[in-house]
Amino acid sequence: MGFLKNKSGRQQITDEHRPCQDSGRREFLKKAVKAAAIGGTAVVTGCQAPGLLGSKEEFALQFQEYFKAHYRLMTEKERDTTITRLERLAKLQKNVDVQISSKEAMPGVLFGYGFNVTRCEGYMECVSACVRENNLDRKSNMQYIRIFEMEPGQMTPDAGQGKFFNEVPVDGRFYMGAQCNHCDNAPCIKACPTKATYREPDGIVVVDYDWCIGCRYCMAACPYYGRRFNWNEPVVPVKEITKKQHYLGNRQRRRGQMEKCTFCVQRTREGRLPACAEACPTGARIFGNLLDPKSEIRFVLENKKVFRWKEELGTDPKFWYFID
């Protein structure tokens, strides 16, 4: 499984070293941003009373956030400043210390996902793990993953039953999951008018949440029901917030923004499995690097009977279903 299981040796050392280097630079930037924020406050708010839009500092930070560029166009330094601002805002608004990563895609990595239709028994551990890991809105009960109970003879999730409340597994039935397929030729990317949604070099399709204008054209374009919209201001209990975050992943979203599965970018770029794959009690979820010939996903693709959903649309998903 290549780099994913390689927890010893060089990679780990570099992993451990990064935070230290980061924090030094981060610390400096934090101070710089703070200074800028105070300066900005004086200009922006003038004699505005604190409390109307949160504290003066909060308002200044949000004001600066408003004018930031698209994530892909930011320089290294700009990325660090916005992350420092976002971390500070999380502290001010919810009193939580989050760490937002901006880790880039690793070279020679293309992520792929395999779903074992034979193994899945519909426990939905993946769904709840995903909700917790990705700080999904509890108010609207948002879920990236849907599990369908299938009758024999059905072979695509849309034919199955998405609302089932019986004990699982049921004899004679089987289960199929549906989530973002991370298409290599993604209709949502083509549709987005602002390029807020795009494909990262490691193949994951991400949304720059702060660049999204909320037109929902991508939602209409997606043939896999892979995208979710924040109809209301998302609510996550402070205690349950996953604090290790990624700018393109599980950081806090806002009302009116589009979001979606990111293959848990905050985990997978650190060499860990996505939360759903880790949580699955039956081992039905396989994740790995498609470019690594020794990875588990490559083994599945080479040795199992695999198929992709709605292949006729030419979207080239990186999500395969397979049968043992």
Binding site: D158, C212, G214, Y217, A220, Y224, R228, W231
Partner: protein, 409 residues
Amino acid sequence: MTQKSSVRQMIGFITDVTRWSLSGGIGYQLFLCLLVVFMMLGVFAYLVQWKLGLAVTHMSDIVSWGFYIANFTFLVGVAAAAVMLILPSYIFKDKDFHHVVIIGEVVAIGALVMSMTFVFVDLGRPLQGWHIIPIIGLFNWPSSLLTWDILVLNVYLVLNLSIPAYILYCHYNQVEPDPRKYRPFVFISIFWAFGIHLITAFLYEGLPARPFWNNPLMGPRFLASAFAAGPALITVLLVIIHNTTVFKIPKQTFNKLRLIIVISAIINLIMLFSEVFKEFYFPTHHSLSAEYLYFGLDGHNSLVPWIWTAISINIIGTLLLAFNPGKNKPMLLLPACILLFVGIWIEKGIGLIVPGLVPSPLGEVVSYAPSWVEISIALGILALGMFVVTMLLKPALIIEHRFKAEKPS
């Protein structure tokens, strides 16, 4: 003409136009007040939506576009339909249409303002709207059809504002407008009118994820239905103008408009029949949306009464206009036009958008009906459109009338 006097002339033009558009009888003032009240209702509803997010609408992750986008789609058609007056009057020099072409152009402006406002209120994050402005934001052109639509709608609005503004300004000063200055733009605007509606159709047609929309007939059908609904609206407006102002419309104009409407409506019905045939002669999985629309699916049949009403009044309106038993008398012409207009509004609006999204790609079926916020905002935008049309049309007709009266012919 010196620089100074032209500036003074311009100031005079602007003040006169403002004065004319705001002054009128008590009925006119009451009408304006009523529109303002509805606009205020819309503003209030929008503030609620602003505060609580789009959760106050009845849209969901399944029906992710609803009443707003439905109205947007329909109104783009109404805007495009102005070409049915512009084409004959400027290109074929048709006298009957030349007389009323300004009304068509003003209707186009009103419809464009409404359709763009509908898109704006549908945005989840309108404050971030600058992200879509070319150069300072990121404009995903030519890949995203939405960017095409933004481009063509804005250019069409500029064209439809500037051509009539130039002609009216000349007429205001009792000068014959110079065709060399505006005719090239008229040509562009004619192509553009087809463009705006075709591209709005492509917005849906280009989505393989939605079989109900992914249909090559979409574009042509949009045009046919627009060229029926738009002129139907203009006919209604002409009857009102004919009866309430000194600006008289010749009978011949009504007859020609009626012919345009009938031909377009018949083509529209033929294409509708072709679509229905394809969906129901050999129903496939891709016909589920049509089944949902026409007969209901899994007990969700909220659209069924709407679509059958739409089709019935469509056919009745078309027959009335085709056989013309009232001989162009407003008594029959008016209801026929209104029936056709409402029929196409239902069918090209909610009857097009919602079934495209249901069943969802995961096969889930839900019902959708707009919430009070959506209806109030829509009413507000409708009032805004009527307000724009009134504000522009009143001075325009006064200028035209004065120009004709004083012209030595």
